[in-house]
């Protein structure tokens, strides 16, 4: 392992210089000749019927080129989840009804933004206000207002791709108002497990909606060429092929007539994967007008109308033996997905998917409900369900450990899964560093001593200190459109290479880590690699930078493409060097040499020339591909939790030390420890950067971040009022890498970008309890909640 020349090395980002000099072009920076600007008219009401829309005055305004409303797009439907059971329920512009404050009603395209904004004020919309509902539990009641009463046809978005699930009854067996998704999974015998338990406890936890806060606002530029009938789009996105698919379906254009062009992405964190109305409308208007159209959301629109993390209620009942062994667990999850389904059925599935890989619970029952409300739409956000479920389960476990007088870490050791375990759905843990991670994190936080020490040291102080710990897991890719990633390695005359990948660097460093994989496998240096990425015409398919798929899935594709190019090189070199078996050859720094006689070598360029001359002009192009999960052709059932989920789980063990000011209620995160099992780290610097980002986001969500909604109205749509961490909140950070080897990963690598956002929440929650002796079961743990818990207000 230590023999690697590039893998595991702290190689600086390949896109660092272009970003450091301000030359990196993001979607918001794109400006095309003749470009028009779009602005969106949004609903001021959480639930209302549209009686009439009069756009005539707006259309008369000089400089206005087009005004479109839902009437123009009645048939267009799409959604992140689009299956026979869960038909697409979103439309680019509201038809008949608006369902949340911010719902898109009309779009104006004009010569400049000022004219477009002025035109919005001239559109007259008559609404009939309808009763609305704002919490999931209220929306589930029998007499709650019905948010979706339209009859939707259930087809699968991917049917024409040969991956349709078996036709089944679309009727949900569960009769609950405003139900958008239902997941039910069980194994073992839960009732029997409870009967055999020595101790049973039930808890309820509640987590609020949070915002992604990507620094680059959402934007789209579309340019349709009526002559070639080709649509060019620039999108700030995580998955270019998924976006192309959505656009192709909704615009009724062949996929090859849509080209998504590369731009840098100013942060995504899960919030730039759904198709958004502004993207569709920019494309639609560009086709309609034959001119480029740009729609850029302002910061308030980003907060209100893109996506938020699901506010979730988790109810857990667990039965344990005296020694802390978990015998039975019954979990109920209720997620508020807002006015449209968004990723509701996915998040309730993932709350199961990220819960069951951690502890070996023999008797388990899980039920999740996603519910429509008249709030903004909720979608994937870093960890997607993991923060909510991991906070709840590990807070609950800490309470049980306290109740029965056990040490939480000991209890975790007793229950965690191990390498080689097969999960109830059939997924196998070919690598699992939970035990090593627990050892490392407990040591790094000085678990036993610190906890006692804090008690005595701070007994008479206003400031109380505590320590806590929690665990988490995350997929490394899964089966989702386009179900695989591929890569092409093109060699040049001088032996350098261009890597073509459809993966998108959203800040996580994939262009760098993928280049490292290529350099290592092929035997060239980092400066010999040029990355062409994020372009649907130039690059082969890619799952996209979500589901934490890039390192493992795209990484494997790149490794295979490099190996393919290398094989071709070696075959040519073998002839030149008079070697019978290419196994006797090795490459390094663009040279091919005999393993036994390294002085006998030729340069890559000689082998490439030989290939051109002797193999029908073949200039050497390597190709590789890897499925989202090679062992299956299906995506897992969201409703039943059946099927294989992921080829490799990343794990993290996280610990926190906090100081609570009992006078003000403010919690200060002093130290954050993360032991992440990301398999073999491709680039330690980049892995640490991912962990730091996760910890910061998790700490924000644990202590201060909350989207404040009052009757559907967002009260804090700005960085001044939405309290995300700033530099002054930075804790001391300790990262330990549990370097396991994931056998299916490229050079042993797997997920790192998402998991460790989740464990820090439970670690902080448990640390606060440790400090003040009272449990706070809702996040964020604000000063007000602390003071209430202490009985001070």
């Amino acid at each position: 392992m230590s023999d690697y020349k590039f893998i595991g090395k702290d190689i600086p980002r390949v896109d660092g210089p272009v970003k450091a000099t301000g030359k990196a072009i993001y979607t918001v920076d794109i400006k095309l000749p003749g470009m028009l600007y779009g602005k969106i008219l949004r609903s001021p009401y959480p639930h209302a019927r549209i009686l009439n829309i009069d756009t005539s005055e707006a259309e008369k305004l000089p400089g206005v080129q087009a005004v479109i409303t839902g009437e123009d797009l009645r048939e267009v439907r799409y959604a992140f989840v689009d299956t026979p059971r869960y038909p697409a329920d979103e439309q680019p512009l509201a038809v008949n009804k608006v369902r949340y404050i911010g719902d898109e009603v009309a779009v104006v395209a004009a010569d400049n933004e000022a004219i477009a904004e002025k035109a919005l004020t001239l559109i007259k919309v008559d609404y009939e206000i309808l009763p609305a509902v704002f919490t999931a539990e209220e929306a589930m009641e029998a007499d709650a207002p019905v948010i979706h009463d339209e009859q939707l046809e259930g087809t699968s978005a991917w049917e024409d791709w040969g991956v349709a699930q078996k036709k089944q009854s679309h009727e949900s067996e569960v009769k609950i108002s405003n139900l958008s998704g239902h997941t039910a999974v069980s194994f073992g015998n839960v009732e029997q497990g409870f009967l055999e338990s020595d101790y049973i406890r039930e808890d309820r936890f509640e987590l609020k909606a949070t915002a992604h806060c990507q620094m680059e606002p959402h934007a789209a530029v579309a340019s349709y060429d009526p002559v070639t009938q080709k649509l060019h789009v620039w999108l700030s996105t995580m998955g270019i092929f998924l976006k192309r698919y959505f656009l192709s379906k909704t615009l009724n254009l062949p996929a090859s007539k849509i080209r998504v062009h590369h731009t840098y992405v100013g942060g995504a964190f899960g919030g730039k994967i759904d198709l958004f109305p502004y993207e569709f409308c920019a494309a639609y208007l560009s086709i309609k007008l034959g001119r480029p159209v740009k729609i850029e959301l302002d910061r308030e629109e980003v907060f209100m109308t893109t996506r938020q993390r699901h506010p979730i209620i988790v109810k857990i009942k667990s039965g344990v033996k005296k020694d802390g062994t978990i015998l039975a667990q019954d979990i109920k999850v209720i997620a508020d997905n807002g006015a449209y389904r968004g990723s509701g059925p996915v998040v309730i599935f993932l709350c199961h998917g990220f819960s069951f890989p951690i502890y070996n619970v023999p008797n388990y029952r899980y039920e999740g409900f996603s519910i429509y409300t008249n709030n903004g739409i909720r979608g994937p956000q870093r960890g997607h369900g993991a923060p909510q479920i991991r906070f709840s389960i590990d807070s609950h476990l800490d309470l049980i450990a306290r109740d029965i007088g056990l040490d939480l870490v000991e209890m975790m050791f007793k229950n965690v899964r191990h390498k080689g375990d097969i999960l109830p759905n059939g997924d196998r843990l070919n690598s699992c560093g939970l035990t090593e991670g627990l050892q490392g994190a407990a040591k790094a936080i000085d678990w036993k001593n610190k906890r006692r020490q804090f008690k005595t040291e701070t007994e008479n102080s206003r400031y109380k200190r505590g320590a806590g710990i929690s665990l988490c897991s995350m997929f490394s890719g899964a089966m989702y459109y386009p179900f695989a990633s591929a890569a092409i390695v093109k060699l040049h005359d001088d032996g350098s290479a261009t890597l073509f990948t459809g993966a998108q660097d959203i800040g996580q460093g994939s262009y760098t880590t993928l280049s490292q994989v290529l350099a290592e496998e092929l035997g060239i240096d980092m400066e010999d690699i040029h990355v062409v990425a994020g372009d649907t015409d130039l690059c082969p398919i890619d799952l996209g930078s979500f589901l934490s798929a890039t390192a493992l899935v795209t990484g494997n594709a790149v490794k295979l493409a490099a190996a393919d190019a290398k094989r071709q090189l070696l075959e040519c070199a073998a002839e030149i060097l008079g070697v019978d078996n290419i196994e006797d050859l090795e490459t390094c720094s663009k040279k091919i040499f005999l393993k036994k006689e390294p002085q006998k070598s030729i340069h890559f360029s000689q082998a490439i020339q030989a290939s051109v001359f002797k193999r029908d002009g073949n200039p050497i192009i390597g190709r590789g591909s890897y499925k989202g999960y090679p062992e299956t052709d299906r995506y897992p059932s969201l409703a039943k939790g059946k099927g294989l989920f992921t080829g490799a789980y990343g794990f993290a063990v996280q610990a926190a030390e906090v100081e609570v000011d009992t006078l003000t209620g403010k919690v200060n995160l002093l130290k954050a420890v993360t032991y992440h099992d990301c398999g073999y780290p491709l680039n330690k610097n980049i892995v640490e950067g991912q962990v730091h980002g996760c910890v910061s986001m998790g700490a924000g969500q644990a202590l201060s971040e909350e989207v404040f909604l009052e009757k559907g109205q967002l009260f804090n749509p700005s960085f001044l009022t939405y309290k995300l961490p700033i530099s002054l909140d930075t804790p001391e950070s300790v990262e330990g890498l549990v370097a396991t080897i994931e056998p299916s990963g490229p050079f042993g690598a797997k997920e790192v970008g998402e998991g460790s956002v989740a464990g820090i929440l439970g670690a902080i929650g448990n640390a606060v309890h440790d400090a003040i002796g009272v449990r706070i079961k809702g996040l964020p743990i604000t000063p007000e909640k602390v003071l209430r818990a202490l009985g001070k207000i």
């Binding site: 970003k19 996760c694 910061s696």
Partner: protein, 153 residues
């Protein structure tokens, strides 16, 4: 375009026409094509649009272009000299202080201001200096480490 202003932009004297209601950010990005200055919130809260005005970091989205008449402005495009990365840019990249890169121009300019005035800042002074610039990717740790390593040079 009803007012002409003269400014020293990245060391070069420029005369440009601006509207009364245009912010400095708009003029830089839209009229001059200097898109390295980023628009993150357009309300003075994120720091992505930071430029140095007379050597001092300001949010260019909060300043009307007409107000900078006769002043000097440095944007991220003016930091690297003669094709060579500035040491701050080099170290930010080496230390992993850059991820998505959207806050990077603002962070680098704030760092430049800090180190120009105080070449040996303390840990606290570094945290204070960048506290007006939001970064969602790095948790600030590698940015702070990068600035510390520059301070130690």
């Amino acid at each position: 375009m009803n007012k002409m202003i003269e400014l020293k932009l990245n060391g070069e004297t420029r005369k440009i026409y601006v509207n009364d209601n245009q912010t400095l950010l708009e003029v830089l990005r839209e009229d001059l094509g200097l898109t390295g200055t980023k628009k993150g919130c357009n309300q003075g809260e994120c720091g992505a649009c930071t430029v140095l005005l007379e050597g001092k970091p300001v949010s260019s989205c909060l300043i009307l272009a007409v107000k900078v008449n006769g002043k000097s402005i440095m944007t991220i495009e003016g930091v690297a000299e003669e094709g060579h990365l500035h040491p701050i840019q080099e170290v930010f990249n080496e230390k992993g202080a850059i991820q998505c890169g959207f806050c990077t121009p603002g962070m680098i300019l704030v760092t430049k201001d800090l180190l120009d005035k105080n070449p040996r800042p303390t840990f606290k002074e570094i945290k204070d200096a960048i506290s007006g610039n939001i970064c969602r990717c790095t948790g600030y740790i590698k940015i702070i480490e990068a600035i510390q390593s520059l301070a130690e040079r």
